[in-house]
Symmetry: C2
Subunit: 358 residues, 2 copies
């Protein structure tokens, strides 16, 4: 199996820990491995290092090489500009197809956490089997709350099973719902979160991109002609082809909106594996144990944090400087060399705006 790992995100919702210089996927948020390393570790039993492509930007090439020393340098794809996941995944698919015309690939975000690696790998194996027959497969996350920040996938009839796993036809992809709609989705039991995890044959996704977003298809065909001559290695010739063709992409298109919402015969495998996209600071707080007051302290020694009348607050330090709070509740405090964030948990989504203005 092949893989594309999308590692070009800016992670602005975790500013000021995540910065343009070192965004979220390159950070150690839990344990010893960065999110990118954990993503690669998680698929390693199914995807050998030389069959994995990291799609990122030139400015992160050094971080990728440093964090993934086993990855061949020729497997790093640097996009000249971000044009959405349809182009990013299509680029990796183009290289993979040049190397293995019927190769099956998985596509993964580099900045998600999954607690149950075994369960995830079992689902990947079933997905690979289904994808080999030509289906576009997605792993959908069994929802645990009526989240309004994710797209949802409505499941249709069951198609195949493997142990506790079942593959379903997709009835439809739906955009981020309102809270009432999200609650209804949860009650029906028919909906899962779209986590952007896809498994398909490279030739199949390229055909769907060509059909539904021909401007991207044409760019990828031109790059594919160069890739065919290198057997799927990202040589200087391929890089020149990318640099030449890429400027014809002028709009951002996600694979969800551009392809998945329009294609037929999609399959979804629901998974419950402790998935977390760590999409905001309250999710970081939830990864750590809280004290009796509901406070979570990360990065400070005992005595490095003092509080009076403080509850439900995250203190996240990357500097080790002393922090003290009094009379606050539901707050996020993040102290890094980049700067200092103080934000109510309710307004954690506004951090993105602050990061982009900063």
């Amino acid at each position: 199996m092949y893989a594309s790992v999308l590692a070009g995100g800016s992670g602005t919702r975790l500013w000021p820990l995540s910065t343009k210089a070192v965004p979220k996927q390159f950070l150690r948020l839990t344990g010893e491995r960065t999110l990118l390393q954990a993503t690669v570790d998680r698929v390693a039993p199914l995807v050998p290092p030389d069959q994995l492509y990291v799609v990122t930007f030139a400015r992160y090439r050094g971080l990728v090489r440093e964090q993934l020393p086993a990855l061949p340098a020729m497997n790093i794809l640097a996009e000249p500009a971000g044009r959405g996941t349809a182009a990013s995944i299509g680029l990796a698919a183009t290289l993979i197809q040049a190397r293995d015309p019927e190769g099956v690939m998985g596509s993964f975000a580099a900045d998600h956490l999954i607690a149950d690696t075994d369960g995830f790998q079992a689902a990947l194996r079933l997905a690979e089997e289904v994808a080999r027959q030509g289906a576009l497969v997605t792993l959908g996350i069994t929802p645990t709350a009526p989240e309004t920040g994710y797209g949802y996938i409505q499941m249709g009839a069951p198609l195949a099973a493997a142990g506790p796993l079942t593959a379903h036809a997709v009835a439809r992809f739906v955009e981020k719902p309102g809270l009432e709609t999200a609650r209804e989705y949860l009650q029906t039991g028919q909906y899962v979160w779209n986590a952007g995890i896809f498994i398909w044959r490279a030739d199949r996704i390229l055909a769907e991109i060509q059909r539904h977003v021909p401007v991207i298809g044409d760019v990828l065909s031109e790059i594919g002609a160069a890739a065919a001559r290198t057997g799927g290695q990202v040589t200087p010739e391929v890089e020149r082809a990318i640099a030449r063709a890429w400027p014809r992409l002028t709009a951002n298109v996600t694979v969800d909106v551009g392809v998945m919402e329009r294609a037929d015969g999609i399959v979804v495998i629901p998974i419950a594996v402790g998935w977390n996209d760590i999409g905001s600071w309250p999710q970081v707080a939830a990864l750590h144990p809280a004290d009796a007051h509901g406070n979570v302290v990360v990065g400070l020694p005992a005595g490095g944090y003092l509080q009076e009348r403080t509850t439900d607050t995250l203190i996240y330090s990357a500097t080790g400087r002393r922090i003290a709070t009094a009379g606050v509740s539901g707050l996020i405090v993040v102290d890094t060399p980049e700067g200092l964030l103080i934000c109510s948990k309710e307004d954690a989504q506004l951090v993105k705006n602050l990061a982009e203005r900063g």
Copy 2:
């Protein structure tokens, strides 16, 4: 006129800007002069430098000399331990009496602000005149709000006037009242805040200390014997006398509780001169102009502070690091090399506890 300036406070309520190493009185909170320098500037037309005594601790001697280069080194009194304002003021009075048996002295805290210097000096001149005749005089602050953090002084019959100023007999000193009582005090118009500003003859206050707190009186008499031999200079001989006698003081006694609440014939002159004891972070906020959202930013350049949905918040930086807030209101954020404070304005009095634990 002579003066004692009390500069031994710890300023814990303005932590982490005010620290044990450099407490509040040695900081520039407004303008170019530190609070200690401003205090000395304010009385300079009435008190020549060599008639002013700074009472502090040995650890602050260097700061005092640095900030007050015109002050003779022999005018710095270092207490071996803090034993309350009765002992501090009495110590200065002992030196002054040794030098000028009927000398009139004012006593001032080193960490208060007064906006109207001319009005303050006019009140001091009237107070000096009254004090020269033997009265214990205090300047009381005309209250602007029903504050519960100050003691109050009830005024009795008017005794003397000078321009817009009137000296009144003191009916009584009262401890910090509850909110309801404070409101009643304001309505009567008979009460002023006790700001700890006193003017009296050195011999008179020493007699009252001897009468009401004889343990302090005895210690001061012993020091006075040495001071008489030096003409009121703080020589090594006087310092040895202080070191020898001071350990007999085992309790803290304020001049308010120990002397003023018990003595008779006290005179109060009410003043309305923009007095501010900067006793907490919300008072610091009030010293600076607020933007349209009620936010006050100190110490950061334009662009150094970013906010979304933030109101009524003080951002005080002594580091220049970028600060961003979102979805908060009524907050105090103080970023200094010592540490980081985040506190609701309502709970600003808890900062003292944090500082003492830190």
